[in-house]
Symmetry: C2
Subunit: 204 residues, 2 copies
Amino acid sequence: MSRTGLTQQERTERTRARLLDATIDCLVELGYARTSTNEICRRAGVSRGAQQHHFATKADLMAEAVEHLVSKLIATMSTGPRPTLTGAAGIGECIEMLWRAYSGSLSTAVMELLVAGRTDAELRGAMQPIDKALARRTTELFHEMLGDHLPANRPDLALWLTVNLIRGLAMEKMLGGDPARRKQLLEEWKTIAMRTYGPPEQGV
Amino acid sequence: MSRTGLTQQERTERTRARLLDATIDCLVELGYARTSTNEICRRAGVSRGAQQHHFATKADLMAEAVEHLVSKLIATMSTGPRPTLTGAAGIGECIEMLWRAYSGSLSTAVMELLVAGRTDAELRGAMQPIDKALARRTTELFHEMLGDHLPANRPDLALWLTVNLIRGLAMEKMLGGDPARRKQLLEEWKTIAMRTYGPPEQGV
DNA sequence: TCACAAACATTCCAGGCTGCCGGTAAGTTG
DNA sequence: CAACTTACCGGCAGCCTGGAATGTTTGTGA
């Protein structure tokens, strides 16, 4: 009855996944501006007709790619290594974790979409709820990780200061600056954060 | 002898300035992807032929626009209000100043170019030296402003932590998040920076 | 004033991208 | 197994973009 042995649903999911993955690849490698449906299809190994069957317009494809992308990001974040220490050291490990999550290639794609969304109302509309979901999940994870050892005062401020700093660093990375310099800045922030949000110490 | 009363050099400078300004406008309003030479000429009130006469290719135009842009940014930064206070309060004012400079519309254009440069070697090559100039000028200004009251330990780390944080916040702004929230984060950072880099205090 | 060069305007062309269409193959249902 | 639905294919048309070629106006120097 079937040559490929695949059910319709399987075929659909496979093709859609291929297209969405290829879209993310394009975002990372080519940037939003140079990402064309043609190139996406080429990389996905799918015909343009098939692409249009599953995603009527390019905007549709992008909108779903955003979801796909953030799910992947959340997944890698959730399953990655967790901080094992508590107190100030735990905060340091959290910052490392956020660094990995928010400066990797998936986050690069997110940044491409953020910038593109600034001047594209449709894309921005698609991104807003998904970005919120990412923020919520990050916050949850942060609370889970530190457990009872949450910084006493304004814990979420610590989190979002870190994330925004990292995004700034990721931006600078785009021009290809010195990685050691970024590492140095991150270490400085780690020190400050541990002192500011860590458990109270005796000396200054 | 002349109908317009303008010398050749004046005409050239005027047209070039119009084109470069229009380019920056496009970057801010349309983003890099949707910025076409056609639109630039339309906004500049200049024919496509004139544009091509002064900037042979789109890349040339962009390269010079980067310079133009950063000069303007440096100019506004240099002539803007300077911190009047010293010590910890002076640091707070510096952060405010950096906030204004690095989150305005000129910086939005810079960010568009940074992101575009990530996947466009030619553009990136044009940007690198100019970005360095911006960094150097910012550092100089920072030292001028605080004068003898520079944070004792690692003053430049304080500066670049601030700039990168602000760029992250600017990124978040693109999705249209809550301005009050950003203000809150900046205030938190101000507090931390004053405590960390300001003159030593007695209590914690 | 006249020849020349620079600035500017218009038009055209090749290429890419998107969206749509008619047709085919594969899977599903009665 | 036959009707039907869904997935997929390849080509076409319209649009826009960037770059080139050609013609016109404006300033300049002899």
